[in-house]
């Protein structure tokens, strides 16, 4: 079993699933990640034999501490998400989800860039079916937009790999910028790879595919989507660009700008997408700082983030599943109907806000300590503002608008048992890691000497920040200053390609058509006048085509002869 490449159980299993009876497929999808995790536990560090392909030496599997952490959490998350999807009787979704997970696992164990590229594209192709699975026109369109962006990222990656290979002669998937070097000095291939990773990691201005597509995915599909694509990108950045300083700036901007969109967003799953974007920023900052402590922070953050973000997506999915809506303006007061979901959601919300004794705290503290150690003052201030922002949109807004606040009058049943179980497992992990961070610290890429609860002052200041932020929220609500819930949408960078570009193209084509029409009319007019002139002289009635009497011809011949005679004499 240990000679099998990681991820292959999931990929091969995905192809077997369609042959199972329909009601056994969901159980099958639950067994696969469990098997995969067992395989991973027996895997030892090192590389599998290289493969020679078309003169290139490829290293399809490389197992080290960094890839193992991501491998573990990907399997755990896939298991939880598959448990949550146990009621789904849709072959496409189960197959797509397992292919998606399998390729994401394959990608984190890829030892060379070509293998990475192949898995990178499979994650894009497989995951889009989780968006299509909603089977609405809007989901279909959003899925196509998502696919264009994701495949675009793959194309950039491949171009980058080829240029990088041309420059350096190496295909190995390792640090692409030397320690101390900057992105500016690297070859253009490395820039392209950086942008390809940046698209999947939802860098500012490249981010909007996430908020556009994920909220339109199926109830269970969104849980899978929230885990893999973006964290694969975080892994890729941590592998190839640790210590690349530009990432610090990018990361801080990423933690800040989505907050404002999250505050005014009405679709609660979209609020979670903005919050996901903001969380990625913390990880990107950690990777940008690049010290052992910071990288540990980024990886630990990715690990716990996968759990609490999946938990939040599951709780909102359960609301959508039971009530048929996820718009904040339609919801409220659901704690009466869904007490368990409410409790799990609150655990997720407290974890993401990084309350002491919850998982977010033990991970975020690592990154923040690295920021302080490196004396990045502005970054530290930015991250503190972002922490208050997380408290606002994920810590309070999500649970408050869905389960408390104004009573919407909706009375529904509690989420199905297996959904509660999946949320319960995630919630227990969130609390467990918060109380006992040592097992998580033990699997991080570098040795950890940090103890999050050693300095009581740190827990205290964090609590103070969060509680005062909550107080500000309460003050805003009581004073009526909080932006009211409205059934509207907000424009983001998707406006450029969903509205502006189509409009410009439409405007452009309209004017090209107009110009063509004018040109055609002008040509027609000129041609017609020309033909009219020709016809006047040469046409049947034209001067030159007229039949003339013989006498007149004889007369003119006589005139010509006379003229030539006169000329001869002269």
């Amino acid at each position: 079993m240990t000679s099998l490449p990681p991820g292959i159980i999931l990929l091969a299993g995905a192809l077997v699933l369609p042959w199972l009876p329909r009601n056994a497929q969901a159980t099958g999808a639950l067994v696969l990640p469990a098997l995969g995790l067992v395989q991973l536990l027996f895997l030892s560090e090192g590389t599998f034999p290289a493969i020679e392909l078309a003169g290139l030496s490829l290293l399809p599997v490389r197992v080290d501490r960094l890839s193992l952490v991501f491998g573990y959490i990907f399997h755990i998350a896939a298991f939880i998400a598959a448990l949550y999807a146990l009621h789904v009787r849709d072959t496409t979704q189960h197959v797509a989800a397992m292919l998606y997970v399998g390729s994401a696992v394959g990608a984190v164990f890829a030892g060379d860039l070509i293998t990475l590229f192949i898995y990178w594209e499979v994650t894009a192709l497989a995951s889009v079916f989780l968006i299509f699975a909603s089977r609405t026109e809007q989901a279909y369109r959003a899925g196509i937009r998502y696919l264009v962006v994701q495949v675009g990222s793959g194309v950039l990656l491949l171009s980058g790999i080829l240029i990088h290979y041309h420059h350096s002669g190496s295909l190995s998937f390792d640090q692409l910028i030397d320690p101390g070097g900057s992105l500016g000095e690297a070859n253009p291939g490395v820039w392209l790879i950086f942008v390809a990773f940046g698209i999947k990691c939802a860098f500012p201005f490249l981010h909007n595919w996430l908020q556009d597509a994920y909220p339109k995915a199926s109830v269970t599909g969104a849980v899978f989507l929230s885990v893999f694509t973006t964290k694969l990108a975080v892994y890729a950045l941590a592998r190839a660009f640790p210590g690349t300083e530009v990432l610090i700036g990018i990361g801080v901007v990423m933690t800040l700008f989505p907050i404002f969109f999250a505050v005014i967003e009405n679709d609660l799953r979209k609020v979670l997408c903005y919050s996901l974007n903001n969380q990625l920023g913390f990880m990107v900052v950690g990777i940008g700082i690049g010290t052992e402590l910071a990288l540990n922070g980024a990886v630990a953050h990715a690990f716990v983030h996968i759990l609490y973000k999946a938990l939040l997506f599951m709780s909102m999915g359960a609301v959508l599943y039971r009530t048929g809506t996820i718009r904040a303006s339609d919801l409220g007061g659901l704690y009466r109907s869904m007490p368990w979901t409410t409790a799990f959601c609150i655990v997720g919300a407290m974890s993401i806000s990084a309350f002491p004794l919850f998982s977010g705290f033990v991970a975020k503290s690592l990154t923040l300590s690295a920021v302080i150690e490196g004396h990045y003052v502005l970054t530290f201030i930015g991250l503190l503002i972002a922490s208050a922002g997380v408290m606002e949109h994920s810590g309070i807004k999500i649970p408050y608008f869905a389960f408390f606040g104004h009573d919407s009058g909706i009375r529904c049943r509690e989420a199905p048992f297996h959904m509660c179980l999946a949320m319960g497992v995630a919630a227990i992990l969130c609390i467990g890691i918060g109380w006992f961070p040592e097992p998580l610290y033990a699997i991080l890429p570098y040795p950890v000497v940090y103890q999050p609860y050693a300095d009581f002052g740190h827990s205290l200041t964090q609590l103070q920040l969060l509680l005062f932020a909550a107080l500000a929220f309460a003050v805003l609500l009581r004073s009526g200053l909080y932006p009211p819930k409205r059934t509207t949408i907000n424009l983001d960078t998707d406006w450029w390609y969903r509205r502006l570009t189509p409009r410009l193209l439409c405007f452009g084509t309209k004017h090209v058509v107009l110009a063509r029409d004018i040109l055609a009319e002008a040509t027609r007019f000129t041609g017609r006048s020309l033909m009219r002139a020709v016809l006047r002289h040469y046409g049947t009635e034209g001067t030159l085509a007229r039949t003339w009497p013989t006498g007149s011809m004889v007369f003119w011949v006589a005139v010509l002869l006379a003229a030539s005679l006169i000329l001869y004499y002269v």
Partner: protein, 66 residues
Amino acid sequence: MIFRILLCLCTAMVILEIIVQRHVIFSWEGWPGFYGLWGFVSLLTIVILAKQLRRLIERDENYYDD
């Protein structure tokens, strides 16, 4: 009721901070109540700014569908 509990908790945090010795790296970070004030002001600013952002980017729900 919840509001009063929150107020009490916040006050308790500030009092605790004065009692407890804590490790400070940047000097401004050591001012009593700094984190509380920073959290309060940050959230207030974020929400007020976001509310203004609405004027610019808010559209009808069917904006992209027509």
